[in-house]
Symmetry: C2
């Protein structure tokens, strides 16, 4: 531990799981600075993004925490201490990272993380622009490349991205476009439709209306791939109609209800789920792929192949502002990514 770090830090956390309108749903706290273990780095958080996973974890439930639960699962900052076994990083490195869902997160002045979560920050991006990207980029990259197995050979094929204006959806639009796919997004507001097109969607449908009919109006009856960034329960029949024989559907979001698998069979359809935390939480043999993807994303952001999906910065990082970010996500009022910047 570097000598100049105080023992306590500011953080935003919770003891009770309450509706976001309750001022105790997320509170300003003073807690101990975490101590990095052997293979961990300690990062001073400069900016942190809020994702739907934060609101899902914070959702009202009877559980009461003994120690404060600090949310926040991606961010950008500066390394301030390294454990003895750390190989890739040194103090003062500027980094961006996904945090560990099993422990306290980035809504705090400091976070301790295993190296596997961390990559060098894209040099050309601000901390805020960088903080917007890790969780959604790894999710979108894994979805397209690792789950849907899209390769060079799929150039010219089509993908429907349900909810293309959100965090993961907008990165997926960029990546699918780079992969040479015909990209059909869906959104419901003028600003999210516009944002989808700015991120590479060739066509944007309105997902509050019939998707099958809208695609037919665009002379498209079926697509090769579907990426679902919103509860698939209400879209299930459309997904089954729109997917090509032997096509693949990736679910980034759970279905809120039970579904009928029968329509998958006639067309020999693949349905795959994507959870960015799987490799790390289950300690899979290929868990280093997480870092590789983060490093690749960093390069792509630096060389301009990918651009940050940051749309809104709120400062400083405190309970009032993080509650506001949660509220915007819960009310589906966001486009791209909201980032909280700096502690006062």
């Amino acid at each position: 531990m570097a000598a100049n770090i105080s023992k306590n830090m500011k953080a935003v956390g919770l003891f009770k799981y309450l509706p976001i309108s309750d001022i105790n749903s997320l509170m300003d706290l003073e807690v101990s600075v975490p101590v990095p273990k052997q293979s961990e780095v300690l990062i001073e958080v400069k900016a942190t993004a809020i994702n739907p996973i934060d609101t899902k974890l914070r959702a009202p439930k009877p559980l009461i925490e003994k120690e404060p639960r600090i949310l926040g699962f991606d961010g950008a900052g500066i390394i301030t201490a390294v454990g003895e076994a750390v190989k890739k990083f040194k103090v003062d490195d500027q980094v961006f990272f996904t945090a560990d869902i099993r422990r306290n997160g980035t809504n705090a002045q400091y976070v301790a993380l295993e190296e596997i979560h961390v990559a060098q920050k894209p040099k050309n991006l601000s901390f805020e622009e960088a903080a917007a990207m890790p969780l959604t980029s790894v999710t979108a990259y894994e979805s397209l490349i690792d789950r849907l197995s899209i390769t060079e050979k799929d150039k010219g094929k089509s993908i429907l991205i349900i909810n293309s204006g959100g965090g993961a959806g907008s990165v997926a639009c960029q990546l699918a476009n780079l992969l040479g796919l015909k990209v059909i997004g869906t959104a419901s507001r003028p600003e999210s439709m516009k944002f989808s097109k700015e991120n590479g969607a060739h066509i944007v449908l309105n997902h509050t209306q019939n998707l099958v009919e809208q695609l037919q109006e665009n002379k498209i009856s079926e697509v090769d791939f579907i990426l679902v960034n919103y509860d698939p329960y209400n879209y299930w029949d459309s997904l089954m109609t729109l997917i090509k024989p032997q096509g693949k559907i990736c679910l980034v979001v759970d279905s809120s209800g039970l579904v009928d698998l029968k329509p998958l069979k006639a067309k020999s359809i693949t349905l795959v789920s994507e959870m960015m935390f799987t490799r790390i939480v289950y300690n899979t043999d290929d868990k280093c792929r997480h870092t590789e993807i983060l490093e690749e994303v960093s390069k792509m952001l630096d060389n301009g192949k990918l651009k940050s999906t940051l749309t809104k910065v709120i400062a400083p990082i405190n309970a009032v502002n993080i509650r506001e970010a949660h509220r915007l996500i819960e009310e589906n009022k966001t486009v791209g990514k909201i980032v909280l910047s700096g502690f006062k």
Copy 2:
């Protein structure tokens, strides 16, 4: 059309969809010999296998057919006529084949089929041994190679094959074994357990009892792949528990009830459905893969890498005997494959 073929033929078919105990559920008929079109071959059926798809199509329902519906979707026989555009076959070729689910099938003295359904019969096999294999081999091959994407790199990984004693299950045991996987089958009767082991299963569990506990008794907590040859509805929780993170499950049989997709997400699981008829029915760009697999299976049967899963021959081919075969399948009394042999 060769001159020596009469205009009429014996067949077994139905007009009404009745329980198999009803003598009108499958009846002896005399119908016209089909005329092969340009790219079709006419095959004299020497032997035909009965599969669960036959019983599913024949299942009681209110529909009444104007023309008799003739079931039977794989078989072996001799080419007796070829359309003008046929390239791969000539009269007197001995062949085995999957039939076309959209038209009349092989429970008849002659069947007309597009070339894509047909391959040279394995020379070392009898018509009966050959007739047992096409539908289940293509299903098992597609399941393991095309749907679960198992390759050389997966050698040493594990697969759970639910209902390993049936037609597709027993071929899948052989193929999975050849691919170097650790093969865990499931069955419920001593004869189906024995048959699973003869076909390459290293361990055979009883699928009427708790699969998770039985696997734990064998010091296995999770498997890399699962192939489901029986209604997954009652196994759903076990499948979700037993599959490894990022593992893949292939469903050859539909779920009889709605399922909860949520458990797929934490482990980023792939769920894929397999229907042997998909490529042909939907006329996919890769539909020739059907023939390629059938030709590969023919070679593997000839060189002894695969062995026929024929277990029971019933002769001759008539309504009484086909009804008996349907009854055995509907009552889960079969092991491997039942083949009907020869018309009197």
